[in-house]
Symmetry: C2
Subunit: 242 residues, 2 copies
């Protein structure tokens, strides 16, 4: 549809062991839809250097923007910055402005700015810092890769800081129609309609609510006039809009 494309790399053992349920992908998906960046793929990988390098490298080559979450804290399992540096062919080391931010933060709290905390100032050369209004330790952007924290509140705040700096496209719009018929009954006509509108994406999602079977039909696209036209045909085929 001509919009820039995006991918996400979600990093953390805790997501693959079932300890934690990720919410950053869902949040990012909604925000990118709003600004017109077409999220095409997400990969969830463990706290494993080679796995992070491979995923970031592949996604960076294939898409306009890559968003990562997780692995930028002070502990031994926080290895994202080093892995992203390797993926992007950059050197990495402590950076003066990040050191200063953190030093001031811990001084203010009366906490030691120890070696572990200093690790959070390791930033690949050539990167731009991403502001962290929640807990100071910054994220960073290098090339087309935007590296953010895994804690949802911090991820969301960092994303809010960088989204206005990215060139999006036309927002992805959607309209939906709720039909009290099974997918199998509407499939033939819905498929024909989808074929008539190759510039739109049409999906059907069955539901069963208090014993009532039905299907949500969803049309997505960037051109409001085309969406309206398809929606009118859909309503003519299957019922009233909601």
């Amino acid at each position: 549809m001509g919009n820039p494309t995006g991918a996400m790399v979600v990093i953390g053992d805790e997501l693959l062991s079932g300890r934690t349920r990720d919410s950053n992908l869902h949040y990012l998906a909604g925000e990118l839809t709003r600004v017109g960046i077409d999220l095409r793929e997400a990969r969830v990988v463990a706290d494993d250097h080679a796995a992070i390098v491979a995923a970031v490298r592949a996604m960076s080559a294939a898409h306009d923007h890559v968003f990562t979450s997780g692995g930028i804290g002070p502990t031994h399992d926080d290895i994202t910055a080093d892995a992203v540096a390797e993926a992007m062919g950059a050197q990495i080391g402590p950076r003066a402005d990040a050191m200063a931010l953190l030093q001031e933060h811990y001084d203010r709290q009366g906490l030691p700015f120890n070696e572990a905390r200093q690790r959070m100032a390791r930033i690949p050369e050539g990167a731009t810092l991403i502001d962290n209004p929640v807990s100071v330790a910054p994220g960073f952007s290098i090339g087309n890769v935007h590296v953010m924290a895994g804690v949802p509140k911090i991820f969301e705040a960092m994303l809010a800081g960088i989204l206005p700096t990215l060139t999006g496209g036309a927002p992805l719009l959607s309209q939906s129609l709720r039909v009290l018929r099974g997918e199998g009954e509407i499939a033939a006509e819905f498929g024909k309609l989808a074929a008539e509108y190759p510039d739109l994406s049409m999906g059907s999602y069955p539901f069963n609510l208090n014993g009532a079977f039905g299907t949500n039909l969803v049309i997505r696209g960037t051109d409001p006039a085309r969406l309206d036209a398809a929606m009118m045909q859909l309503v003519r085929l299957f019922g009233e809009p909601q």
Copy 2:
């Protein structure tokens, strides 16, 4: 750790547009942890033939088991079976036993077994059907790839049917310690402990609950004696177990 490895491929535009929040990855992660299959990676892809083929092929080559969710219904956007067939180099067509199951199901309900519904009997050659106790339309296993529905209730029921047929390993166990100190304060000693136990995985997860900052320290592994030993050292370093 010697356990078989697993990967997941989650299929659906609705997850990448932000319409739907996936829950199958989190569910699968918990179940695989229980049966001793080490989930290493997950990929979320759109309803796009080439994207599904590429993800299934890569994950099937890299891991012992691949679990997919989504895209096996009757509508035009349900293209998983064909994509998996191509990824695994198999022919695909309507299969007699799947047709019979579905025919009987729709006859019983007095609903037409139309062309769209017959698409759900398209199964790659050489596959084994996966039972669907919720809505009959089967999933299937071909090679090391297990193809299941996206609707959580059906995904979970299908998974319950196949897990006992897979060879797992030692269940991945975990113990955790909640510490009312920031990650940056425990990082150095926690990192040293992790280095002493290369057979265990240790992670730290900061939290902020009603203004109290703290860190959950988690140790994972398959050998209960090693877990106990590491946990005793952790308690000696940082406090009481909970």
